[in-house]
């Protein structure tokens, strides 16, 4: 435990000094500020108003940018550190490989989740001061979904870092993966597949295996229990899971995927050359 915490603290300290972290924090902070300044809490669109509206937009933006931020910064940090000789030196110290790997993952999780959460909490505080009703249950569920999404992509990032021989390859693979997942959203290719009358089973199966789509649908289901916004596909999903079941699936699936990919990354990391 001592070594795990030391590795986590080390990663946090390294990240806090890195330029990417500053950009990352500013992006999420700016998103919230822009949403507040543009008066989103005052508007009523598709039945949503107040802070719920702001949260919906924020979550959808997070869905698009959080995974790519997590992937790129993780692979840059892990594969880049290995390339630059950081692993050669730090892994010559008597730290168990498991403590090093999982400590790094833990540290990165704190670093990637904190700015997102702080920005969201800032919006809640502002809403309280401005006299808006705070949707606490929605806030808690959204936080849980964001944790699950961040963990999922951290796990994938660690796996890619363990597999890739160089940080360039790791970054390229991360970007391609993110693009593929983005393309298979209901907004893009899945929508076209539905329109082209491709069997629903296949479309829904793709949707349910894409962690981005699962996150998007589950976060929509918080505010829109009948998933009216999703169209006919919603009946299919709700028939299989029910509303609560799907919220649970949306929470557990990305988290489990993150754990499995991180573990696979650990097995590869432990087996191969360290620096």
């Amino acid at each position: 435990m001592k070594h795990l915490m030391a590795a986590a603290r080390l990663d946090i300290a390294e990240s806090l000094r890195a330029r990417w972290f500053l950009i990352y924090t500013v992006v999420f902070g700016l998103v919230i500020v822009l949403l507040l300044v543009s008066g989103l809490t005052e508007s009523r669109v598709m039945g949503f108003t107040g802070l719920s509206r702001l949260l919906i937009i924020y979550i959808q933006i997070c869905m698009a940018i959080l995974p790519i931020f997590v992937l790129i910064t993780t692979v840059r940090s892990v594969a880049g550190d290995r390339e630059a000789g950081v692993f050669e030196y730090l892994l010559s110290l008597p730290i168990p490989l498991a403590a090093w790997y999982w400590g790094k993952l833990l540290g990165r999780f704190v670093i990637v989740f904190l700015p997102v959460f702080v920005a969201m909490t800032g919006a809640i505080l502002w809403a309280m001061v401005a006299g808006h009703t705070v949707p606490w249950a929605e806030f808690a569920l959204n936080t849980a979904f964001l944790i699950s999404l961040a963990w999922c992509f951290l796990g994938i990032g660690m796996l890619i870092s363990s597999l890739a021989k160089s940080s360039d390859v790791a970054q390229g693979a991360s970007f391609i993966l993110w693009l593929v997942l983005l393309v298979f959203l209901d907004l893009v290719l899945l929508g076209i597949m539905v329109r082209e009358q491709i069997p629903y089973n296949l479309v829904v199966s793709i949707a349910l295996t894409n962690p981005l789509q699962v996150f998007r649908t589950a976060s929509m289901a918080i505010f829109d229990p009948q998933l009216v916004l999703l169209g006919p596909t919603a009946h299919f999903i709700l028939d299989i899971f029910g509303h609560t079941g799907f919220l649970l699936y949306g929470l557990l699936y990305p988290a489990i995927m993150g754990c499995l990919t991180a573990y696979a990354g650990f097995l590869i990391f432990r087996r191969g050359d360290l620096p």
């Binding site: 300290a13 000094r17 890195a18 630059a84 030196y89 010559s92 087996r271």
Partner: protein, 286 residues
């Protein structure tokens, strides 16, 4: 006791180590020499358990890969290229001391004795230090650990003559039963403080010889040099070694650390055409 049996390592079908076998007894001080790409760093990484290799590496009967913590607790390591760590000097020392159950103050003191102004750089990011400062800190960390094996990859390459002198003294004070493995691409860099030389070429051992040297690691030699004329380049080189000129005549005096004398003579040999006399005295074998 370190036992390497038939160690081979291949990168993309290119053999970097090719069947290396070595026995290293306690108290051995080994110079691992060879040109760039000879396999020195790869061999050290195999010893640290950082590379998976064919053959067997045993350190007191333990495989450094399977028994990482037990083995690495006993090993101090100085890399050839300092890692580009963003963390502050203080954080690095505290981290290294924390994970290896060592005293951070001792690491600081050793780095200070090598000439690092610790207080001035304490809160600076490690990556921002100069090459020499990084080397001093990493040596301080390695020597400050309670370890009986030192693996150093070109450890003195960035040190000035004065710091090298302190470095030799610290090595001399280090546990006499400890194993020291120092890699360098130049034998004169390390020859004086080793008792065995292993030369690698294209991943194979091409020379494995014992060295007898009567010069103590802590000895200082007094040196007087006389040249045929005042030559700026020679004066500059000698000043870097801490020599002082005697009046207007082209004559210099200074001291050279015993283990550094080959390196010093190698430098002086560049000006052989100018030399009238060279007198090196003191120490046991001067």
């Amino acid at each position: 006791m370190i036992e390497l049996k038939d160690i081979s390592k291949t990168f993309r079908r290119r053999p970097v180590l090719d069947g290396i076998s070595l026995s290293i007894a306690d108290g051995s001080r080994i110079a691992l020499v060879g040109s760039n790409g000879a396999g020195k760093t790869t061999l050290i990484r195999c010893l640290l358990g950082e590379y998976v290799c064919q053959g067997s590496v045993q350190i007191d009967g333990l495989d450094p890969r399977r028994n990482r913590q037990q083995v690495l607790k006993r090993v101090g390591f100085v890399p050839q290229l300092p890692p580009p760590l963003q963390m502050s000097v203080n954080e690095l020392v505290l981290f290294a001391a924390h994970v290896s159950d060592s005293d951070p103050k001792l690491m600081e003191d050793l780095a200070i004795s090598l000439g690092l102004e610790f207080e001035a750089v304490r809160h600076q990011p490690f990556v921002k230090l100069s090459g020499g400062q990084k080397q001093k800190l990493l040596i301080g960390i390695a020597l400050g650990r309670n370890c009986d094996m030192l693996f150093m990859d070109e450890p003195a390459a960035n040190l000035d003559p004065e710091s090298r002198q302190v470095f030799f003294k610290l090595l001399a004070e280090h546990n006499h039963k400890s194993v020291m493995l120092m890699s360098s691409h130049r034998l004169d860099e390390v020859a004086a403080f080793v008792n065995r030389v292993v030369e690698l070429d294209q991943g194979r051992v091409t020379l494995d010889d014992h060295v007898v040297d009567t010069v103590e690691l802590t000895s200082l030699l007094t040196c007087t040099i006389e040249a045929s004329r005042n030559e700026e380049a020679l004066a500059k080189a000698l000043t870097e070694w801490g020599f002082e000129k005697e009046g207007e005549a082209p004559r210099w005096q200074g001291t050279v650390a015993g283990p550094d004398r080959l390196r010093f003579l190698s430098m002086v040999s560049r000006y052989a055409g100018l030399l009238v006399s060279l007198d090196l005295q003191g120490g046991n074998g001067a």
